[in-house]
């Protein structure tokens, strides 16, 4: 074997990954066009594309660009940040069962947002909402990683996550319990279900800066995740500042998930599922899984948001409900697959 062979074999694998990623991006683009075409007025992907770039008639331009585009953009961005957060947490903890919702991050973010609304500190369109959600999400992930310690096994992580999400749920329930305005309670309850309906560009502007900041922070750590495959001690010996890496991941996840929850409520299980769908295509390198997982997250949330509009039902199904209904059985399947590691008590 020669040096060329070492490099060339790597190039083959790289080509395969780039192909898979490009195909995935095409799927996301197609789903986005379909998403823009669905609603009371159905438009074909072709006329959607036309309207998007200023062609077609004026009515379809208004429908696509002003009414439906914010919803699709949010699905795209939030799906991406959830997939990226899941892949990052799995990379940091070297654990395929890590994800924001299993660690209570969205539940805590929702509590932060609900508290701000209930106290009358903000309406649903002020920046106080994402800021409160981000602070609460940061607190939950930071707390979880502090409790779990440096080389935590699967069992400790899952149990701490369960405790934190239960606590966040109970705290949210308490706020609703104590709220005196029944309309407010109803509004909060609906919002907690997680939905992308009737979102405007104001919501996009509210969430997007935080989501982008979180995504940049997480993506900047891609190489460190790879070194971390060898464990924290070895990664440190290779020059990775593990403490800084942890802080970046916690902050990135908090910014992304907090920003997302502030405009849509809790949407779970995208972060858990997306990286798993990508591993057979991309391989297990945690650094290379980030972008494909973000794309898969976008595809999943776009597809779920299309599904809730197509599935015939008497009242609207909320997209957060649908992702959980599909996500939890998938979680059970993963537990079954990881049974051996879980049974041993440590992973």
């Amino acid at each position: 074997m020669s040096v060329e062979a070492v490099i060339v074999t790597n190039e083959d694998a790289a080509r395969r990954r780039i192909g898979a990623t490009a195909a995935l991006a095409a799927v996301v683009a197609l789903l986005a066009l379909i998403s823009l075409g669905i609603g009371p007025v159905r438009l074909s992907p072709l006329s959607v594309a036309e309207a998007l770039f200023g062609g077609g008639n004026e009515v379809s331009q208004v429908i696509v660009r002003e009414i439906r585009l914010p919803r699709t953009l949010l699905a795209l961005a939030i799906g991406a940040i959830l997939g990226l957060s899941g892949a990052s947490l799995q990379g940091l903890l070297r654990n395929p069962l890590a994800s924001p919702e299993l660690f209570g991050a969205p539940q805590s973010a929702a509590f932060g947002a609900v508290l701000v609304i209930a106290l009358g500190l903000a309406d649903v369109r002020s920046y106080a909402l994402p800021v409160a959600a981000i602070i609460a999400a940061f607190g939950s992930v930071f707390g979880l990683l502090s409790i779990a310690g440096r080389n935590a096994g699967l069992l400790i992580l899952i149990l701490s996550g369960l405790a934190i999400s239960s606590f966040a749920g109970a705290a949210t329930a308490l706020v609703m319990n104590l709220a005196t305005n029944p309309f407010l309670v109803l509004e909060i309850a609906f919002w907690l279900l997680g939905s992308l309906e009737d979102r405007s560009f104001q919501h996009v502007i509210l969430a997007l800066p935080f989501i982008i900041a979180g995504a940049v922070m997480l993506f900047s750590q891609r190489h460190a995740f790879r070194a971390l495959s060898l464990g924290e001690e070895t990664a440190q010996s290779l020059g990775v500042d593990v403490g800084r890496l942890r802080l970046f991941v916690i902050s990135g996840v908090a910014l992304g998930v907090g920003g997302a929850v502030a405009v849509t409520g809790t949407i779970g299980f995208i972060g858990l599922v997306a990286p798993h769908l990508m591993r057979p295509l991309i391989g297990h390198d945690p650094g290379r899984l980030l972008i494909p997982s973000a794309l898969a997250g976008s595809a999943l949330l776009l597809a779920a948001d299309i599904a809730v509009r197509i599935i015939p039902s008497t009242s609207d199904i909320k997209v957060g409900v649908l992702t959980s209904i599909i996500g939890v059985p998938f979680f059970l399947y993963l537990i079954m697959r990881e049974r051996r590691a879980l049974g041993g008590g440590v992973a």
């Binding site: 040096v3 070194a227 971390l228 945690p286």
Partner: protein, 260 residues
């Protein structure tokens, strides 16, 4: 050791969680030597290895190649130590080559898919040195324990650092693979690298090492060439055993024998 020391420690103290784990350890080790670090369980062998690599905070002075360890940024430290932890865990089923390529991380090759020719050469050299080329495309999780330990060793070698620190690299290997690993480390030392190996196998230490460090309860109690450092007195005091001593094929043999 008479040559100029590559790695020195002066009055090294380490406390972990309020407990004194190492106290007043001073040593000076030269390039090209294979140093065995031995001692009973809990003597602080792993802690000393970690402290030398700067992975845990310590009091005292550590110098590597004339630089104070604390004055070196993380990346520069990383270039100077090839660290092989106990158990050498790999958490994802990555191909063996990608694992070895991570040894080039301190040199800026953070992506195994984009190795420069120089880094690829280093990876290749490391893989050839421990003979793991044949399974370079296989996932490490599919390899046997012996094969995996060779891949881990190749990863540490790929750093091409002046110092290799290996924590029980022979643990849980069959006798043949134990000898293979020690031979590889011996060859590495003969090329001018300072290799420090933690081991419980006094026989391997006596046979392969130039220099032996004996730790007990956080203190260095004996050091020197194997025959001196592992004298009958030290064996009795530190390990509370006697040993059978001989020479076989012109190499020193120590077989721990009976309690005393």
């Amino acid at each position: 050791m008479s040559e100029a020391a590559l790695l020195t420690a002066k009055e090294l103290d380490v406390r972990l969680a309020g407990r004194v784990v190492l106290k007043d350890v001073s040593l000076a080790l030269a390039a090209g030597h294979l140093v065995a670090l031995v001692g009973p369980n809990g003597a602080g062998k792993t802690t000393l290895l970690r402290a030398l690599a700067g992975l845990i905070p310590s009091q005292g002075e550590i110098e590597i190649g004339g630089h104070a360890l604390t004055s070196l940024p993380l990346r520069e430290r990383a270039k100077r130590f090839g660290y092989l932890p106990q158990g050498h865990m790999v958490h994802w089923p990555l191909p063996a080559r990608d694992i070895v390529a991570l040894g080039r991380y301190p040199h800026g090759a953070t992506d195994p898919a984009r190795l420069s020719p120089k880094d690829a050469e280093a990876v290749l050299r490391a893989m050839q040195a421990v003979d793991v080329i044949e399974f370079s495309d296989r996932r490490v999780t599919e390899l046997s324990g012996g094969e995996r330990s060779r891949v881990a060793l190749a990863r540490a070698l790929a750093v091409e650092a002046p110092v290799i620190l290996a924590d029980e690299p022979t643990a849980s290997l069959d006798p043949r693979h134990q000898i293979d690993v020690m031979r590889n480390l011996r060859t590495t030392a003969d090329k001018g690298v300072l290799v420090i190996v933690v081991t419980h196998d006094l026989g391997l230490a006596a046979r392969f090492a130039d220099h032996v460090l004996v730790l007990r309860e956080g203190g260095l109690v004996s050091q020197g060439p194997p025959a001196e450092a592992l004298s009958e007195q030290v064996m009795a005091d530190v390990f509370r055993i006697s040993a059978y001593r001989a020479e076989y094929q012109r190499e020193a043999v120590i077989v721990p024998w009976a309690d005393i």
